[in-house]
């Protein structure tokens, strides 16, 4: 039986490890060294699914890792990760998705600015007359 101290360390380690799974390059690293083919590792990935529960999920800083963890449960995904192009594609898509909100926000701000400009113009003309 492990002590509380050991359990806390294990918690820390598992917290970090599960978040590392958000990094597609790391996943590619693991795949190329054959870890994703080993049965104990696959079982460990299934065990890690406990991070999806709200009590544990609130400690995650990089929530993308949960999606990756779910995908890693599928053998097809694990096999594909051996290709560097696959990892690169995932990385690109992840970055684009990451930028989605900021792009949306800038667009909204632009739209708002344009609207204000348009409102300002007629008033300006009326005053000048």
């Amino acid at each position: 039986m492990e002590t509380d101290e050991q359990a806390r360390n294990r918690f820390q380690a598992e917290l970090e490890f599960v978040q590392c799974l958000a990094n597609p390059n790391y996943l590619n690293f693991l795949a190329q060294r054959g870890f994703l083919r080993e049965r104990p590792f696959i079982n460990y990935l299934k065990y890690l699914l406990y991070w999806k529960e709200p009590d544990y999920a609130k400690f995650l800083k990089y929530p993308h890792c949960l999606h990756m963890l779910e995908l890693l449960q599928y053998e097809h995904f694990r096999k594909e990760l051996v290709n560097a192009q696959c990892a690169k594609f995932i990385d690109e898509q992840q970055l684009l998705h990451w930028q989605h909100y900021s792009r949306k926000r800038t667009r909204l701000q632009q739209a708002l600015a344009e609207q204000q400009q348009q409102q300002a113009l007629p008033h300006g003309n009326a005053v000048s007359k």
Partner: protein, 253 residues
């Protein structure tokens, strides 16, 4: 049975009429004959008359019977109509009952579904404050939304970078120098990370301050066997993954 063998009133009426016809014909013939010659049988005309009267009486009786049968028949028809009406009423009620049952069954089913979803929602309920706090945490660190001034070339990412990984608990576990512990990163890792000695960066994604009371789920067994029987954790494998140096976790205590 006797009732079936009996002749119907109509037949009896017709037969009586036939008799009457025959008798009256004979009588008329006799009367016609008696004009020209004497009656061969003296009592025959009386006989025929008597038979005639008798037949007539029978006829009257049968007519009375027929009249009464007609009344009974009418009553029967009325009753039949009543029965038909009642039948259709019952069918109507049956239809309405079926419809009502259907509507109620649907209502009950939908109510049950609603209760199920209420239960489900209640189970997953989290205080809004916690959710807002969490949202703040993951947004402030740019973990889910890129910083507004991000350009390609910026090292920030939505996942822990190599640097962050190496400087975490896992990195420390794997990189322990064989020549003693001093809490600093070993030389090669330092060179790779280009960090000065004094800096031991502690990134918030490790969150050791927040998670003081938190323990991971129990699994005292080996992951080599098939789940769900999670067996003794194969810690050696776990540590070997972050880098390719091999040291067991027991060293970290």
């Amino acid at each position: 049975m006797a009732a079936v063998a009996e002749r119907s009133t109509k037949e009896r009426l017709f037969s009586v009429l036939d008799d009457l016809e025959v008798l009256s014909r004979e009588l008329i013939e006799m009367l016609a004959l008696s004009r020209s010659q004497k009656l061969p049988q003296p009592g025959e005309d009386v006989q025929i008359l008597e038979l005639l009267v008798q037949r007539d009486r029978e006829f009257q009786d049968l007519m009375e019977v027929a009249r009464q049968q007609g009344k009974v028949h009418q009553e029967m028809q009325l009753l039949e109509k009543e029965v038909e009406k009642r039948d259709s009423d019952i069918q109507q009620l049956q239809k309405q009952l079926k419809e009502a049952e259907h509507v109620l069954a649907t209502a009950v089913y939908q109510a049950k579904e609603k209760l199920k979803s209420i239960d489900k929602a209640r189970k997953g309920s989290i205080s809004s404050e916690e959710i807002i706090k969490y949202a703040h945490r993951i947004s402030a660190s740019n973990a889910v939304c890129a910083p507004l001034n991000w350009v390609p070339g910026d090292p920030r990412r939505p996942y822990p970078t190599d640097l962050e990984m190496r400087s975490g608990t896992l990195g420390h576990m794997a990189n322990l120098p064989t020549n003693g512990v001093n809490g600093h990163l070993p030389g090669d890792a330092l060179a790779a990370g280009r960090l000065p000695d004094v800096l031991t960066p502690h990134y918030p994604w490790q969150s050791s301050d927040i998670s003081v009371g938190m323990l991971p789920p129990h699994h005292s067994n080996d992951f080599g066997l098939e789940p769900p029987g999670h067996n003794k954790e194969n810690e050696d494998d776990v540590e070997a993954m972050s880098t390719d140096s091999s040291s067991s976790s027991s060293d970290s205590d």
